[in-house]
Symmetry: C2
Subunit: 360 residues, 2 copies
Amino acid sequence: MTAVTDDKPAAPKRPLTLRDVSEASGVSEMTVSRVLRNRGDVSEATRTRVLAAAKDLGYVPNKIAGALASQRVNLVAVIIPSLSNMVFPRVLTAISDVLDNTPLQPVVGVTNYLPEREEKVLYEMLSWRPSGVIIAGLEHSEAAKAMLRSAGIPIVEIMDTDGTPIDSVVGISHRRAGRMMAETIVKAGYRKIGFLGTKMPLDHRARKRFEGFTEALAKAGLEVVDQEFYAGGSALAKGREMTAAILERSPEIDFLYYSNDMIGAGGLLHCLDAGIDVPGRLGLAGFNGIELLDGFSMQLATMDSCRAEIGRKAAEIIAQGAEVSVSDGGPTRGRRVELNPTIRHGNTLRLRPSEGLYPE
Amino acid sequence: MTAVTDDKPAAPKRPLTLRDVSEASGVSEMTVSRVLRNRGDVSEATRTRVLAAAKDLGYVPNKIAGALASQRVNLVAVIIPSLSNMVFPRVLTAISDVLDNTPLQPVVGVTNYLPEREEKVLYEMLSWRPSGVIIAGLEHSEAAKAMLRSAGIPIVEIMDTDGTPIDSVVGISHRRAGRMMAETIVKAGYRKIGFLGTKMPLDHRARKRFEGFTEALAKAGLEVVDQEFYAGGSALAKGREMTAAILERSPEIDFLYYSNDMIGAGGLLHCLDAGIDVPGRLGLAGFNGIELLDGFSMQLATMDSCRAEIGRKAAEIIAQGAEVSVSDGGPTRGRRVELNPTIRHGNTLRLRPSEGLYPE
DNA sequence: TTGAAAGCGCTAACAC
DNA sequence: GTGTTAGCGCTTTCAA
């Protein structure tokens, strides 16, 4: 055994404070603070002295104290339902990218699509007095809405524009997205349409897409022939299973609309394996436009949900944030940004109606 | 236009404080504080009064002030390189699940595999004085290591055990993982082995797997026949492209080892499309054991990287955290948990050597 | 069971 | 350019 002798001082029991740096450098706490924050005029000489001392001691400022004193917290609360599908990570990346050019920092909370979790997470985050909140969706518990309204900071609700925002909102209309896809499918000549989705009554965006979808079908005198829902497990595997099941049960189906790309991709794999003629005998479409699927031999028709753009815009609104966010009692001052989702036909959705099984 | 009359008071300009609740309830700040934190004995009567007042006002406590006063912050810094691949979200979920049963809350920072980002993110997080740090990998800049050592809180380095931890470590040996896979492949009778990976010199775990892999091959008198690396883009698509490319360049290859499941899956798709006999003519294996791939028609051979288990264990260590984490100058008091990755053969790796092209 | 006083580590505002 | 003073909103500690 060798006796280890430290050349650096041992780990301190008491965290270092400004005072320590002050004493080590022979400069007042205030000036040290100024140097460390690059605020106010400090002579180059003392600046160097202070920096050296801080680095030497390994001083890490205490933001808790700083925040309390300055009444400023450079944190942005980002509240999303899930991390496990590919959609929110994409939004997060965009948010981070924008905030990287500001003093702001995102802090992520996950709700698992549970309103009570959302309420709790929101409460926790608000208790840190963040500079803004980015939160997915427009549906929140009354308590959550009350908290958001009275927080006195910019709030941006993202992903969805179908509803009444508290402050600002950035997203797409999922109802419209569902409608657009239905219209495209009908125009392509498909008539026996099935739907596959998630068993998530609380996924309001999926619900709205479905509503828009059936609404547009109804306008064309059609309705969904059959449907199936899943919960849990590998989305790809579930998509495969559900597709097999629904096609067996309702063999007349000539199109399947999936509530997300992942189960759509599973369905596509099933069709390829089963030798089903796609998009001739059966058309397929998903939702989200996730890049993941670029590696498949066939491109699933889908709709870009503008995830990156949404994240970017939301972060920008927060970053601007100077403006008053919610006025007292009057109309909301928030901004409204509705993005346009675009259909990507891929090759699982035939383009010309003339090729359809049901020529018009 | 209708004149909106508020039944609830308008959003306050000044955030509410304990004092407000104190005044509204006619109870001292101290007692209000006790009620809100469920600390100490408070009569049921005052308790109800206080709770009612707090709820009525919509009071949200200020954790900044609370943390400063109590010198306690129930935050756990979790620092990971990326959110975009499926591996870290899985770890995060496990961490959250464990911490949900404690007062602790994870706060995530992403480094993009950049040491300088890591250093910055770490500094930011430490300045909030968290109760612990969970950080991916054992390789950090000297400055980062110094910060971790002197933070005076439990540190858990995760994912990898090949190296010297600062405090605790939970992970698998990636070198060993690479070795195990090589041995399995060789035992199965494959001899002309190619490698496909990421262009990430800073992904130390991928590097260690590769080193272990080649080391074990060398022991069997073999070396990697050809290799290819990618950066950016859809991993699935890249896997497909790289596989086509390497097989064209080195047609003698009878096995491809991928540094992750995603590119492996892309490779598998290529093989299926190209009509290549897998695992007869060509074997394939990936790494991570991601569930995503369960929906494929063939199961890619892979190795479980114990992501969930790692997250769980790490969180547990932090939660126990009471123990002194780094002793002064002496040996680290941290715990060491090395998990055993297991090979999942799937069906892209033939099992019996006797079936090999090169019978032994 | 409740309250009063002191102070956590920093920064705003003002002096010098 | 630098230092001094007074809090930020809570919790700790101690007294009642």
